[in-house]
């Protein structure tokens, strides 16, 4: 299926420029914590749209959404932006090619990475390989609990520097929707980026995708 760029943006009610500000209805403007600019990077696909909705539901205000691919000019522009930024947080859910490039360009620009994970949808639900960086285990735990609450199957491995990996898994229950995880990851990163304490319900956006993704929180 070809998911049109317009559909992603329309679903978020943000402007066609792809770089506009979006203020989700009913959220509090000051929820972005230290007021640093927050940018979200997604592909032109349903998972990206669900991720953004999840992030915004977490109260991620001042959200700029940008659709990005592994186009060289767009990526080099992002690297420049990271290099020159003074207070910028970037969350995203991207295909492996673009995600790999974005994370490495962040390294080149001297940014910090506070969240990094790989995701896949499988017949039994979803798989998540999380590189736990700043003791974000409680957030991963939240993701796992959320997927469990929705009845979705998951297999989650958390790797942390200097420690053996932790694993959580559960099979799907009932007519569980396998594609709730992109929205949940959006919610998780939206809350992590804005330091929102109470994570509200991430909703049940169910996305049909067999693609694999990288999610991240980059901080400059």
């Amino acid at each position: 299926m070809r998911w049109s760029r317009r559909a992603v943006l329309k679903s978020l009610a943000i402007s066609s420029a792809g770089l506009a500000m979006a203020r989700p209805r009913g959220t509090v403007a000051s929820a972005s914590g230290d007021g640093r600019r927050l940018l979200a990077l997604v592909n032109d696909d349903p998972a990206g749209a669900a991720f953004l909705r999840g992030a915004m539901a977490a109260g991620a205000v001042l959200l700029q959404a940008r659709i990005i691919s592994s186009d060289v000019q767009a990526l080099l522009a992002l690297e420049r932006e990271l290099r020159q930024a003074d207070g910028l947080r970037v969350i995203g859910l991207l295909d492996d090619a673009t995600g790999t490039l974005v994370v490495d360009l962040a390294r080149g620009a001297g940014a910090r990475i506070s969240w990094l994970a790989q995701h896949a949808t499988s017949t039994e639900g979803s798989r998540h390989l999380v590189f736990d960086i700043d003791r974000t285990e409680d957030r991963t735990r939240w993701l796992v609990d959320h997927l469990y609450a929705k009845g979705a199957g998951y297999q989650t491995v958390v790797q942390r520097r200097g420690e053996s990996p932790k694993q959580w898994s559960s099979g799907p229950r009932g007519a569980a929707p396998p594609g709730v995880w992109p929205g949940a990851v959006g919610h998780l990163l939206g809350s992590l980026a804005t330091s929102t304490r109470a994570i509200r319900d991430a909703g049940s956006d169910n996305v049909v995708t067999h693609d694999k993704f990288v999610s991240f929180l980059i901080e400059v």
Binding site: S70, L75, D95, D96, T100, L101, V103, D104, H128, K212
Partner: protein
């Protein structure tokens, strides 16, 4: 600043000694250039190999801005016995990325040393620092309207000439064998001395980037894929931009065609009629590069069956093998060569020729043409989306440029990959006499079972190819010790004797290409 205990330390170094070393690094480089927080180190730890990131986690990373700072770092490392892992831009994806060969090594990131020191449009060469990217050099050449052309690897825009040459990487123009085009290096040795190779030691010489050999032993090669020094400047030759550039593709329907393709191509390459490093990409490399995804065709695990590969060919018009080459020169030269080349293909009686005019902006033709004419892009990263999941290891055995040999290697690699439920995603990069047979072992790191299969597969590839007398030209950091064994003990003894002489404290990248005074026992 007081640090928390670091969960990752260099081998044999105590927390207290490590803290002292970090303090010394901070005094030398400033707080902001000594990275030891987890969120600062994660971007350096994202590997794509069949092991946990933690197996290659650095204990810290340092960013330096000058040769003097590199010398200072080496001095501190000697004092505290700290091993360092130098990177230029650190984009060695599929070969270990930016992460060190051994857990706990301190990364020495040279990205801030990014000055283009000289581009000489008459003598056609460049002299650059480690952090200079090909894109930076491309922009410089364009902005100054210089009649020069670059040769680079597929991650062109973001990789560095120095880093690529250090790993003896390849590109796709007539200057595609990059180490062959290298001329003159500046190296900081483990004792802090600065050594310039070739003519570089002669006071006032203006031929450092002109004449490679200098006088007496020529040592440049021993600093590549090695751990004898930190290269801080590199010179390399640039190709004059030709007035006419004619890229073309030849599409072959059947896997068996590889034999005839190579036999027909070799004389054209050895005679220089086709001057560039030609590529022969298989259907899955071609499809991945054009952003075709496996799940469009199947969500079954295991290798992709041949019927699906045929279907991809039918759907996309891609061949089982897809050859990309180019001609360069004046219109008269290109016309004459085109006549020879196109007639050779016609005589072969198979293969469909596609020219730029026919291909237009279609991928992957477009990015291949860009690579062959020195225009940076990142299109080939599409390979990462073929299977997805962040696992990628290049298996790159060298082959004779002989049809039967290429077919034998292709069959062997495919059989082993399929046995482990993985795909044969491959290309041959054609030198005049050799082939770099490059296979992208792609796997899903979110799936521990598939990751274990990929690991077993890579081991078996190395073992089975070795039995046939084949070995790889370059490998990711997980398998460097294993590959070093393929090349014999005498070579290893010599390498360790050199290491003992130049770096007795074993501080420079121990383990690089299997060279490590700590683990290599033979005296």
């Amino acid at each position: 600043m007081a640090q928390q205990n670091n969960p990752v330390l260099p081998r044999g170094v105590t927390q207290a000694t490590f803290e002292k070393a970090l303090e010394a690094f901070r005094a030398l480089l400033g707080e902001e250039n000594v990275l030891a927080q987890p969120s600062q180190l994660t971007p350096y730890s994202k590997v794509m190999m069949s092991v946990e990131n933690d197996a290659h986690a650095p204990s810290a990373a340092l960013t330096v801005s000058s040769v003097e700072q590199v010398q200072g770092v080496v001095r501190i490392c000697n004092e505290h016995k700290i091993p360092i892992w130098p990177i230029s831009t650190g984009r060695n994806f599929g070969y270990g990325s930016a992460a060190p060969v051994q857990r706990g090594q301190v990364i020495l990131d040279l990205k801030k040393m990014n000055r283009i020191l000289k581009v000489d449009p008459d003598m056609c060469y460049a002299l650059v620092e480690p952090g200079v990217t090909y894109q930076q050099l491309y922009d410089y050449i364009e902005e100054n309207n210089l009649p020069l052309m670059l040769s680079f690897p597929a991650p062109s825009a973001i990789a560095s000439p120095l880093g690529n040459i250090m790993d003896r990487g390849v590109g796709y123009t007539p200057y595609g064998e990059h180490f062959m085009m290298q001329c003159g290096m500046e190296v900081v040795l483990a004792n802090g001395d600065i050594y310039r190779t070739g003519m570089g030691g002669v006071k006032g010489s203006n031929t450092w980037q002109i004449f490679k050999w200098g006088f007496g032993p020529t040592l440049d090669g021993m600093f590549t894929q090695a751990n004898y020094g930190i290269v801080t400047k590199i010179g390399f030759w640039l190709m004059p931009k030709p007035p006419v550039f004619k890229p073309f593709e030849v599409i072959f329907e059947n896997e068996e065609d590889i034999v005839d393709i190579v036999e027909m191509l070799r004389p054209l390459r050895i005679s220089g009629t086709i001057p560039n490093s030609v590529v022969i990409a298989n259907v899955l490399w071609e499809a991945g590069s054009a952003n075709v995804r496996r799940q469009t065709y199947t969500t079954e695990s295991g290798h992709t069956p041949d019927e699906i590969l045929k279907k991809i060919q039918r759907d996309t018009g891609m061949g089982a093998w897809n050859l990309y080459a180019a001609l360069y020169g004046t219109q008269e030269q290109v016309d004459a060569d085109w006549k020879i080349v196109s007639e050779a293909f016609k005589r072969l009686g198979k293969g469909r020729i596609v020219t730029q005019e026919e291909a237009g902006d279609k991928q992957p033709f477009k990015y291949r043409a860009q690579l062959m004419s020195g225009v940076p892009n990142l299109q080939e990263f599409g390979l990462y989306n073929w299977r997805g999941g962040g696992g990628s290891m290049w298996f790159a055995p060298v082959s004779e440029a002989r049809g039967s040999e290429c077919e034998k290697q292709a069959r062997l690699a495919k059989r082993i990959l399929h046995k482990h439920g993985l795909d044969y995603v491959a290309e041959f990069i054609v030198g005049p006499r050799d082939m770099h047979h490059v296979v992208d072992v792609l796997f899903d790191r979110t799936n521990p079972e598939e990751t274990a299969r990929a690991d077993a597969c890579f081991n078996e590839l190395l073992d089975e190819f070795e039995k046939e007398g084949y070995a790889v030209y370059r490998v990711n950091t997980r398998f460097q010790e294993r590959v070093a064994r393929s090349y014999g003990t005498v070579k290893r003894d010599v390498e360790h004797a050199i290491k003992r002489a130049l770096d007795p404290n074993n501080i420079l990248a121990p383990g690089r290409s299997g060279i490590d005074l700590h683990t290599y026992n033979k005296v």
